[in-house]
């Protein structure tokens, strides 16, 4: 059942992607209407969709830092410790 459902979605991948875009847009727009008076910092109150930007930024930063570190020599061949 689960396999069929996933296959069904995979066959309509483009539609699924558009639905996800729709979902993301909905969340961002809804967040603009939420009361921010209980937020902890001014940035959250003043910047619309602050956490959306923060989420995207965090994701990009984490991926890029990991990639740069990996390329700097941290990622190495699998038999590195073998004698």
């Amino acid at each position: 059942m689960i396999v069929n459902f996933i296959d069904y979605l995979r066959d309509r991948l483009q539609t699924v992607i558009y639905c996800c875009y729709g979902g993301i847009t909905f969340i961002v727009i809804w967040s603009l209407t939420v009361d921010t008076s209980h937020a902890h910092t001014w940035a959250e109150k003043m910047i619309p969709g602050f956490w959306s930007l923060f989420g995207l930024g965090s994701c990009a930063v984490v991926i890029m830092v990991a990639r740069l570190l990996g390329k700097s020599g941290i990622m190495t061949r699998e038999d590195y410790y073998d004698n």
Partner: protein, 595 residues
């Protein structure tokens, strides 16, 4: 001991000792019964807080059973995880694996209920040694080596802890395991904290965790992911709450773990790095030390044990079926292992803090505590890590295992099936609790140690914050996914120092030192031995000709004189002999009188 106290650890220990005697059809029932009894005991104790099991030993009063709200919540989750872990391992025939796991659980429960450092140390070491066997029982050379590294690192940590509380005892005469004075830390405070910190895998003392957990047996890693680090978090929360340095270390830990998890190619190593990251939240919570932060730490430890156990069980099911643990040798498995896929997704979205799942109600408490304590940088960085957590555990892990291009060999693909009923039951139980915690707040929040603070995670603002972060992280993953695909690499970490250091030591011993030893032996044979022979020959000659000559010559001389005297003086006539004797005596007498 009072009559109504029976230590939960003792049930596990006795159960483990009797396990080899229980065979055949009773084995599985017995395996289920003992952790269940332990859980019932823990539950019973939670209804009767107090101090039990106080024993006088030499000069010290040892406390085995301190039951308060902090120990109750940790005891509860540990004994619950013991049930789930044992069900997951019901199919394992090797009784030694169960015995090691149960001793390990007993160690953890012993630490949780102890009231002084001596008992803590006893159970602390029991945990370290028992868990080492969970690595060794995988029985391949890599696991053997990893087990040795693990036990060496933990022995080092144990020694630091021992040093810390012995120094504290010398300074204060106090062995009790209570909150230390972290405002004015002494050397022993630091040592105790470092000893405890090592078990919580706080950088720079963290490398043992992904190394060991990825090489343990499949059921062993399910146990290990729950007990060592969270027991350490309990001890830190008990003794080092409010220690500022832990905030910095915790945040570093959270970031460090997530960055390494992104680079990882091994399923269980990725989950190991995820533990480092998630425990970072708890360490930060301990460092903040406010009532809300400690509640958050306990709640997150509770939730973390369940979802991380679930993730390790699902990953273990994949490894158990396919025999492969690298993303570069797996992929596309949702067709073959749909049940495992569903359980892993529940664990993954729990750790990612989806609303109505466990991570959402626990993780946010620590982040809120840091904002409320005006430690904004920690709050923002931990929120960034929560985006990273979703990226790694919620997206990368299921994507690489179940959806990405199928990289399985024909043999691997053939072997991939959903695991046995007991493994699925254990995963179902853990999933149930992940959903229960997130959806029915009083279950977890009712157990938290500080009852005076209230926390409400389901506000519109918090929901919108979380959904925005999750949605945009998913979008970021979609855009940048090619950068975090699996590669056939390992990542160098601080264990480089002791692994390479060990190899360097071995090289020094086998090469320069061995060469010197061989050269010395040769030189000795060539120079030393012949010199010795020549010297010996000389002394032999000297002995024969010199010393023996003198001794023999003296003897010959004495004999010759004696013979001459005999010839002159002793001619055989008694009168002459008497005459000589009397004359000689008279001469001596006269000489004596006259002189």
């Amino acid at each position: 001991m009072t009559t109504n106290f029976f230590h939960p650890a003792l049930i596990m220990i006795i159960g483990a000792l009797l396990l080899p005697l229980v065979r055949g059809p009773f084995r599985k029932a017995y395996l289920f019964l003992i952790p269940l009894l332990t859980f019932i005991d823990v539950f019973y104790l939670s209804q009767h807080p107090g101090t039990y099991g106080v024993v006088q030993f030499l000069d010290w009063e040892l406390t085995f059973g301190r039951v308060d709200r902090l120990s109750m919540i940790f005891g509860f989750i540990m004994s619950l995880m013991a049930i789930i872990g044992t069900i997951y391992g019901l199919h394992v025939e090797d009784e030694w694996q169960h015995i090691a796991a149960w001793f390990y659980v007993a160690g953890s429960l012993g630490v949780i209920y102890c009231g002084d450092f001596l008992v803590l140390f006893l159970f602390w070491e029991m945990m370290a040694f028992a868990s080492t066997f969970l690595i060794w029982f995988k029985k391949d050379p890599e696991s053997l080596a990893a087990g040795y590294r693990y036990i060496l690192v933990h022995t080092f940590g144990g020694v630091i802890l021992l040093l810390g509380f012995v120094l504290r005892y010398q300074a204060t005469g106090d062995l009790s395991f209570v909150q230390l004075n972290v405002q004015n830390p002494e050397l022993y405070t630091w040592l105790i904290m470092i000893g405890l910190m090592l078990n919580a895998a706080v950088p720079p003392l963290h490398s043992w965790l992904p190394d060991a957990y990825s090489k343990a047996t499949i059921t062993g890693s399910v146990f290990m992911c729950a007990f060592t680090t969270k027991t350490a978090i309990y001890t830190l929360a008990r003794s080092c709450a409010g220690f500022d340095v832990l905030i910095v270390l915790g945040v570093i830990m959270a970031i460090y773990g997530i960055i390494y998890a992104i680079m990882e190619n091994d399923v269980r190593k990725l989950l190991g790095w995820e533990i480092v990251s998630q425990v970072g939240y708890m360490v930060t919570g301990v460092g903040i030390g406010t009532a809300l932060a400690i509640n958050g730490t306990c709640a997150h430890a509770f939730a973390h044990i369940l979802y991380k156990g679930l993730l390790f069980m699902a990953a273990g099911a994949v490894i158990h079926a396919t025999g492969k643990s690298k993303f570069t040798e797996l992929g596309g498995l949702y067709k073959k292992m749909p049940a495992t896929f569903v359980f892993l997704i529940i664990g993954a979205i729990s750790v990612s803090a989806f609303p109505f799942l466990s991570g959402f109600v626990s993780k946010s408490m620590i982040i809120s505590a840091s904002f409320e304590s005006h430690i904004l940088w920690a709050g923002f960085l931990l929120t960034m890590v929560s985006a990273g957590t979703f990226l790694v555990a919620g997206l990368r892990l299921p994507y690489l295992l179940f959806f990405s291009e199928n990289k399985c060999s024909a043999e691997t693909w053939e072997k991939a099936v959903d695991p046995s009923w007991n493994m699925q039951l254990a995963m179902a139980l853990a999933s149930f609790f992940c959903i229960l915690i997130g959806s029915y707040l009083p279950f977890l929040y009712g157990m938290l140690p500080n009852t005076e603070v209230a926390y409400h995670p389901y506000g519109a603002y918090h929901l919108s914050e979380t959904l925005q972060i999750l949605a945009l992280t998913a979008f970021g993953f979609f855009l940048l996914r090619k950068h975090i695909t699996a590669r056939e690499t390992i990542s160098l970490d601080l264990d480089w120092f002791y692994r390479k250091g060990g190899q360097c030591f071995l090289w020094t011993v086998t090469n320069p030192l061995q060469w010197f030893d061989t050269a010395f032996s040769k030189a000795y044979r060539v120079v030393g031995l012949s010199t010795l022979m020549t010297t010996s020959q000389f002394w032999s000659w000297f002995d024969w000709n010199g010393i023996d000559g003198v001794v023999d010559g003296t003897a010959r001389c004495v004999r010759a004189i004696g013979q001459r005297i005999s010839l002159v003086l002793q001619r055989g006539q008694i009168q002459q002999t008497i005459y000589y004797t009397v004359t000689f005596a008279a001469v001596i007498l006269v000489a004596y009188v006259w002189l």
